[in-house]
Symmetry: D2
Subunit: 149 residues, 4 copies
């Protein structure tokens, strides 16, 4: 079962301030760190649709990352205030796909995609329940939360 989410409702944007510890000796954000931003992006994406991912985790539903790709366009630097747009681009029975666009003002910093599987505590693939599918296809309902600042 494959669903292409509605582009009108499938995106959320959050701001991320680059931390000092996220830079490396090239004085730019280390390439691995971006995946922690993308992860924060999808946690916030869920929160704005009423889902606390930590609650899922406690109930035994996990979304481990099965596949990633990223293209780095411009380096991000310490203290940059970045804008990350996270979009659900594909919803399948046992997995989903998010795309990410990271910008500093109008400048594109990076683009990425991740595919996540849905598993239970035992590590077994499980299909998304219908209630979950409904949530994943809903628009932002919760206000942006104050996360850092």
């Amino acid at each position: 079962m494959f669903t292409k989410p509605d582009p009108a409702t499938s995106s959320s944007t959050l701001q991320i301030r680059v931390r000092f510890c996220e830079t490396d000796l090239m004085k730019i954000v280390h390439h691995a760190v971006y995946f922690t931003y993308f992860e924060a992006g999808r946690v916030e994406w869920l929160r704005r649709r009423g889902v606390t991912y930590s609650a899922w985790a406690e109930q035994g539903t996990h979304l481990p990352v099965a596949e990633v790709s990223a293209q780095y366009k411009l380096p991000a630097k310490f203290d940059d205030l970045l804008s990350l747009t996270t979009t659900l681009t594909e919803l399948r029975s046992y997995s989903l796909r998010f795309a990410y666009l990271l910008k500093r003002g109008d400048a594109e910093i990076a683009r990425a995609e991740t595919r996540l599987a849905c598993i239970n505590d035992a590590g077994k693939l499980i299909p998304f329940p219908q209630a979950t599918r409904d949530v994943l296809q809903s628009a932002e309902t919760a206000a942006a939360s104050p996360i850092f600042g």
Copy 2:
């Protein structure tokens, strides 16, 4: 030269949302991660006094960490919204000391202290210029910045 900052103006508080990647297999925030929170705390402390630490870094003034200590009281968990109060507790010619109190609601998560030296690009200790000392003893002037969310 030793200065004890005025407690009425020497603290700033910011909120930090715990990221998924900051947890470890004990399902709590890894103890090393707290030092990245404390670092974010002092960057924000400076920002609220009109100082962008990244500008200092570009100009060749660095504040490397010379000494740290921390006591962990309660574990922080994924998605916790923590409150971090950073206080300048000591201002010397070549170094300064910050104290940190990290809470989740009323519960105390951790306390810590860091001593930072003032060095130039060549790694040589330099005294804080008077203009810098004035800033470090000023109250919050800038509004809290939107950092993450």
Copy 3:
């Protein structure tokens, strides 16, 4: 200019012990951490061909990551002793490509690819000098270094 490296000489394998701090609350290695393994893989790959990457960095040659992709097959866990095979798969005028195969015994943990650009201190793309191209196409000459243990 495109060169396909000789498969007979273009691979190096190192062992990596998973650290506690590299796990997350799913009790597996966090997906972003793998990119730090791959990075260690290419640093060691260069070392075994007589190149200390830190010397390059000090001389102003950098290899920032331009593109990555990874597929995660099985979770790695705390204290696993992993084997990482790094292979130079493509050598172009201004960029190169490495492939990675991460295993635990015979089990495949992850596969990945990274494309790295060659830039100078000013961030400008520079072609690999011929001496560098020769090194990049040489077989392992240095013995495996004791890195951790």
Copy 4:
């Protein structure tokens, strides 16, 4: 119950190669990263006494960090081959204390101490069983393991 371990048998030394991702824009190892080295030091310390910490973790015994302190003397840099000596300095009923000395050749990089509590899966303090106390007071028995390289 307090035991002062025998200095003749309570130390183990391992080598650590600094990874690229462990540096920050000051071109030195980030201060928080040292705690991941110290953690690797005590995991290896236990391994050389026949204890796989991951086995303890699976059986529900954890040693969360209750307190840390560190003094940074000289910066460590990318690709440095460091030597870390971990010493059990105190063994109490419910907690223990390790000291760490991190060197590059003869140069002292950092000193630190950590106090760890002993808890079960429910997060409750538990006393070290006598068998564990015996292990903790034994000399190195296992050979140094190949960890990274």
